[in-house]
Amino acid sequence: MTAFARRSRPAPTRAATPALGAGEPMVGIHGVDVTFRSKGRTVEALSGIDLSVAPGEFLSIAGPSGCGKSTLLRVIAGLTGVSAGEVTLRGTEVRGPRRDVGFVFQRAALLDWRNARDNILFQAEMRGLPRAWSRDRAAELIEMTGLSGFETAMPFELSGGMQQRVSLCRALLHEPDILLMDEPFGALDALTRENMNVELRRIWEATEMTVVLVTHSVAEAVYLASRAVVMGPRPGRVIEEFAVDIPGHRAYEPTLESAEFQRVSAGIRELLGAGAAGD
């Protein structure tokens, strides 16, 4: 039993969608191309992507700016359409914006006129989730992410890190099976970022959630992930995959000092070239 599954009632959203068959991937990406047209030029944002994400996996996608890693994440959520190929999410084809995901952007994107708790409950209101259930769930998430005492603070009263915690709670409120994060900690200072990494890892360890994280930071990618994918630009494609074989709980400093972490980090840095990693 996990901290997430302690409630008596199941999440209202989960019952509505079919369960994943055995051995079926959470995300399946097959031969996906994405081309954008702007001012007569065509830009190949993604080319020939084949990637699958297993249920419960933590996948990091690292790569330099302009390699299409954010586009790939948006493709999974159905926010960007594909030019060729097929994307499946939880066993069904992605044809438009998907409701069964939690999405976190680099900027917290909070509603300025709502306090922290009401920003989290925004997810429930838009989905029409039961009020009492949502309030319990929000309280649980507030406690889990260390937002206790800040429930009624307005966004402008919160630091960047606290705002991003609210954004994370909002993305988790409806208990999605998959959390998609687009450089969620990119705008934070180094120390806050480390703290958030530790908390995200702890939350993931406590759940059976699948996470796909797009990041610039090699350390973040490796510390958090069960598997790290490196992408390259022009056209955006997958260059290499690394399994990060550090089982169980990952305390921050010991993990960063471990041989496995060093090995994978070095491998990724080599692919990205010196200085291209951005951290």
Partner: protein, 285 residues
Amino acid sequence: MTQQTENVPVRTAARGSDPPTEKPPRENSRWASRASAAVYPAVFLALLLATWFVVTGAGMVQPYIIPSPADTWSAFVDHPEYLWSHTLVTTGETVAGFVIAAVVGVLVAVLMVYSPALEKTFYPLILFAQVIPKIAIAPLFVVWLGFGASPKILVAVLMAFFPVVISGISGLRSVDPELLELTSTMGASRIRTFWKVRFPAALPELLSGLKVAATLAVTGAVVGEFVGANSGLGYVILQANGNVDTAMLFAALIIMSALGVLLFAVIQVAENLLIPWHASRRNRG
């Protein structure tokens, strides 16, 4: 027995949370700073009044050019019912014009933001209606609508409409695109997204536009009265001008300004109630 591992999330003490920002002081000293902010305009106004007293009292100008403060005051005191009834007329026209402009303006802004075809069709027309000098078309409205309140209200609407539409459009467009993408992953209807996200996000700019519109509505109503009326402050000014009763003219001007300021203040209060979260509100004092 089933396995019962109570997996209570462990608060990592060392790196548990980043330092939260201090909550800014809320109410303390706000009123004090507001009072001190009122001192500057009060002193300036007093100086202006003093100058008025000195200039007219010393006989430097003829009373028919600038009446003395005492004469102006007696214009108020001697004709309270006359001024009051005409003030009511202008106030009614102004408020009616402002409300119509606000409602229609917001509706048009919403339609234009949601339909590019409508925007392409009506934007040039709205711009055209804005650049026509209102004083020049006001006589036409008198021909069309007669001497009642409607031509005055129409001029007030035309004056106030443009800032409402412009601020409404730009406010509705100012919403964070990521927020809209987020709502699309929530499966919310467009109407719900409008009321929960777009409209509140547009309020700060819309209210700025409404403030401009309120002051313009007063001007519009008076311009309407200038070209053909038998009541209202515009009519009072024309009469006073004809009788070389400058004191009465001054009295009417003061009431008109007060009317504009009052409407402006009403919207200011609405701002404080509706958007206390906005930067323009919370950084004051």
